[in-house]
Symmetry: C3
Subunit: 468 residues, 3 copies
């Protein structure tokens, strides 16, 4: 049997299914462009085997362990590290068994589809994971991971990845990227400039981070102009390791366009830890506009990922730290929040700002109307909880009529689960083809156009928007 069906996600009505299948067949073999994600560059630098099934599939993936947590499985029983370094489960077989015992919880979720796809297409498994099959699964995957064909670089090539962007903080030395380059391996792995730690006055160690930024760039990062110059130099450094984009994860989409003297004064307050919450937010907002101005200079595409209330539960944050599945979206306003930045740079030619959202209500109400007018704006694909069949369907249905396809930028997987990359891109390709087939079958798009659009959504738009 197959774990995943050949025609999955396609519309059921035979006529529409045929169109969807034809469209999909025309793009399923295209290389993967992965322009935004969180893969660890050390995988490709060192090319060492992945340790075991639990460390590959369970422990690093908050999509997976949060579902188990929600039904009462203790995070420590899944081997999730504790902030105080205290004891957690260390036996990967036990972790794997607990995961398998609760695998039914994922019914109907994209995680189940990604996992099944990986099990089947990466590891050649063809019985469903369950309490009973868990030990065999473990043995099988663990054995495969020891084979050369399952080393990171081999998988990268087998996954047919044409380009993959990782994300590094502004203070990262990019040593893994250097090592990849110096290894002579031909896989294209590029970095992305993520300066949260040096633009957010509320980030842990902000002042020290800015000081380090100055040291790394030989700029006086205590002065406003030196600080901006330091960013310019780091961006150039990141560009030298292939970066084509910056990325910004703020609590809201707020932007500001302060006068340079006001910005300098606020920066000084931030350095001295004297910003109120409101002032810190204002500074972050202003820095988005500064980053957009730098993008006009150096050509980096600017990505904004706003709207997550990070570390929602105080106890989980205290016990386990960041990125533990307790980041919860909230309402996000774009129409008012982006105006200062858009008044500054929104109609500049040659600038690409990609907007993401965790608030689906903004798709049709704010994002598509703005992307359908501003030359600088493009819409990123459905993100995080919405990177799924229903999420993609809603995105297309809510945005296409207002901003068309060509103000969107194709798919990105945004993942730290390496083996799920082919699965995720496959879901996106299928979901887009399902949507296009529906348009064709209802006379909203000509079939020949649909083939062109399918290719663009799969390949062309991502390459163009990210200059890859």
């Amino acid at each position: 049997m197959n774990l995943t069906e050949t025609d999955r996600l396609f519309p059921v009505e035979p006529l529409v299914r045929d169109i969807a299948r034809s469209l999909y067949d025309s793009v399923s073999g295209l290389p993967i462009i992965s322009p935004h994600g969180h893969c660890d560059p050390s995988w490709f630098a060192e090319n060492k085997r992945f340790p075991n099934p639990a460390e590959l599939f369970v422990i690093p993936d908050h999509y997976v362990f949060r579902m188990l947590t929600s039904q009462g499985v203790a995070m420590t029983d899944l081997g999730i590290p504790r902030a105080d370094g205290g004891a957690t489960e260390t036996d990967p077989r036990k972790i794997w068994q607990r995961f398998a015992d609760n695998f039914y919880l994922f019914r109907g979720t994209p995680s189940a589809m990604w996992l099944d796809h990986s099990f089947e297409h990466v590891f050649g498994l063809n019985v469903p994971l369950s309490s009973e099959t868990a030990p065999d699964y473990y043995d099988h995957i663990d054995a495969k991971l020891a084979e050369p064909e399952f080393l990171p670089r081999a998988l990268f090539e087998r996954f047919n990845i044409e380009a993959l962007a990782t994300t590094e903080g502004a203070l990262d030395d990019l040593k893994w990227h250097r090592q990849i380059r110096e290894s002579g391996w031909q896989g294209r792995v590029v970095t992305t400039y993520r300066p949260d730690a040096v633009v957010d006055p509320e980030f842990e160690g902000f002042a020290a981070n800015v000081a380090q930024l100055g040291e790394m760039t030989q700029e006086d990062s205590q002065s406003w102009q030196g600080y901006l110059n330091a960013h310019r130099k780091r961006r150039a450094y990141f560009k030298s390791f292939g970066a084509t984009a910056s990325d910004h994860g703020h609590p809201s989409a707020r932007t500001e366009n302060l006068s340079q003297s006001d910005a300098a004064a606020l920066f000084a307050k931030a350095l001295h830890g004297q910003c109120s919450a409101e002032e810190a937010d204002c500074f972050r907002g202003h820095m988005l506009t500064e980053m957009a101005r730098m993008s006009l200079e150096d050509g980096l595409t600017l990505q904004i990922h706003p709207g997550s209330r990070r570390n929602h539960n105080a106890n989980v944050f205290a016990q386990h730290g960041r990125d533990m599945g307790f980041d919860i979206p909230g309402p996000t306003n774009y129409v008012d929040a982006l105006k200062p930045m858009l008044d500054a740079v929104g109609i500049e030619p040659g600038l690409t700002i990609i907007l993401f959202t965790l608030d689906e209500t903004s798709y049709g109400r704010e994002l598509a109307p703005m992307a359908g007018a501003y030359p600088a704006l493009k819409l990123g694909p459905p993100w995080w909880f919405f990177d799924s069949y229903e999420g993609i369907k809603k995105f297309r249905e809510a945005t296409t009529e207002t901003c068309g396809f060509y103000n969107t930028v194709g798919f990105n997987d945004d993942t730290r689960a390496f083996c799920s990359i082919p699965a995720r891109h496959d879901v996106a390709r299928r979901s887009d083809c399902a949507y296009l087939a529906q348009l064709v079958a209802t006379g909203r798009l000509r079939e020949a156009e649909a083939f062109e659009v399918a290719h663009d959504l799969t390949y062309g738009l991502a390459k163009a928007a990210y200059q890859l």
Copy 2:
């Protein structure tokens, strides 16, 4: 002819319809679990006949009379009681005729489906209700209501209700529940603890209510600790009449976790009628956290029904009082509002908090991400205006991918229209099976899994979440 079609609500494509029908056939005969609603316990205590068709179907059901009101039918012409005791229509035949004359207004609404289902399956009618058929309808139903098979207990058994929860205020003496128990009748009708009148400083007669709470429990309810103890005793009393849950209807989802001294001080202000609107809201919010703490002690499941702007029109409220169809939903924030309570008890094992919403935008953005992480949280089914085919479809499509099925709790009918109970559960079962069939047909769920999930959604999850 039939008033309701055999395959209604199933997807139309034959392949998917077959799957949906098979799933539905596997659950359509299961007993009804009705864990939350507003049936009158006196029906089952006294077991008297329902007075007439108008008093059964029109006068008590704000879903029904609000639609007629919206098109200009005067509430007094429908027999809706006036606050001043003034004259209203008293002839049930005239009320029934007005209802029938306007029955076309309900086209496409769940009310029409519930009513048709009741007419057909409870009363054996098989011509549509219209101006012309109204008199025959009246005679037929009125005659049936005189038969022993149409007394409340007989209908309860015929409806195959395994358990039904009513909702009573904290000050209710539960005499009807006592009478049911003492009658020896075996039908399981349990109560639910609803303390709005004694936790909301803005409730009419709050101080007097709290005083009465003290008298009923022999606690000094003027002191903070005595007040909390009085709650504990009332909860225990409700438990002795089968209660497994409390229920809370607040304007917003706001929670607070004040220090005990701050809470005590605020309580004192509330008793003296000195709370500002903000302080009253704060107190209500804190009481949710206190109730959650008591649930940790006594095991009651906690239900939160927030977000209705009650009594929206001043004239209607003045003329007819509460629950007159003029309760309008508004935007409801959960991610910020629930944080204080969740920081206090959100990851405690053994606690079940069921969240409802009237703001569908929160399903995917806030509720599913929270329920998919917090052990204490579960999602209640679509509520009130959204207890419908489209409402259920939207709920499943927006939540399943993020929190799966097992962080939801099955269906409840939340009704005061007794005869609609089978109709409502039937709509829910059909809608869920339609959704599951779509997942199966598009390769998102295996068929064997779908049968298990259908059973859980119909029966298992409600029993577990409400401990019934």
Copy 3:
């Protein structure tokens, strides 16, 4: 070949498609009721030929040129006038070619469907517009525009328009409407009272506008009572040119119901330019309630179009002025905002207030619950960005279950693109029939009822709500 398919927008499943087609066939020949829009009455007064294809299809239609702008085409290259009167492209053939070169951007948008429909059904073209076919297109359309059958009145009749409402400001002398009447032409073109310039203290020249209002009506418009009387006289004047409705485009749905003395004081401040932004908003809100009271006197239907952040980009506004495609929707609250007006007049018999929205989240959460209770409220059709297949589908799916069909008012095209009127009404009829067919096929509506509802949605409800 056809540019638009015969069965477009109908569901694909054969059984449902057959029902949809039957329903559509029963309404496709009905006359067009166009109760709200922005056609230029001078077209019908003067009955001169439309100048050329670019001035007919591109330059006046912000739906069209905003999409080109969003992909970097300069507005001046499309002949969009500059605020400073500076040079823009003057060759309509070049503009047309640029439009055609970028026509692929509209794939999947309603604009593409409207344009193709106009090309095919108005001008008899049957090859798709493209870079290659652009010159032939231009020649063909330009030649047609010179024929008598393509003059505005001839098209009006050919489009089978029974009644068309334009929109004029309160200070308009209605000379074109007078000229239409005096011409003896039988086409029914009526005006609509749009008083934004004299009710919004922030409108350019508010005080002067109010002074002019006084002069036109021989009322002392500097006094509050005189100002209200001036409105009454202008409304009567508009009624004498067929007006059956007023229209109000406010930033939000805020209403107020001030005491007359407070309103008079605020009006005096407004006249002296001393209102804060908050006070200006309060005054606009109060004027909605005053307009509703006048509607009780003179019977005009009241339309509210709230929620657009007009002129979002400062540069575009400075360079090109208003209505340039940079109006972006934002979140709009109705439940709190409308309460003051609804407390004042919401349950008055004989009043019709039609609510529009650019915030689809309000359909199910606020608008349908309110329209399903208040006699005075009706829901307008999907507006602006949401006047589309998906928009109509979402509207029906979100509102029908709560307020039925009879609290909605049929379709309006709201367009300044004359040739798109048949296309837009055709899309609405198809979309509604597609929705009704789905209800029939899933047992939610009887087929005979669906035919009645289809007729009402196409014709009866608009005539009734607008008294046309």
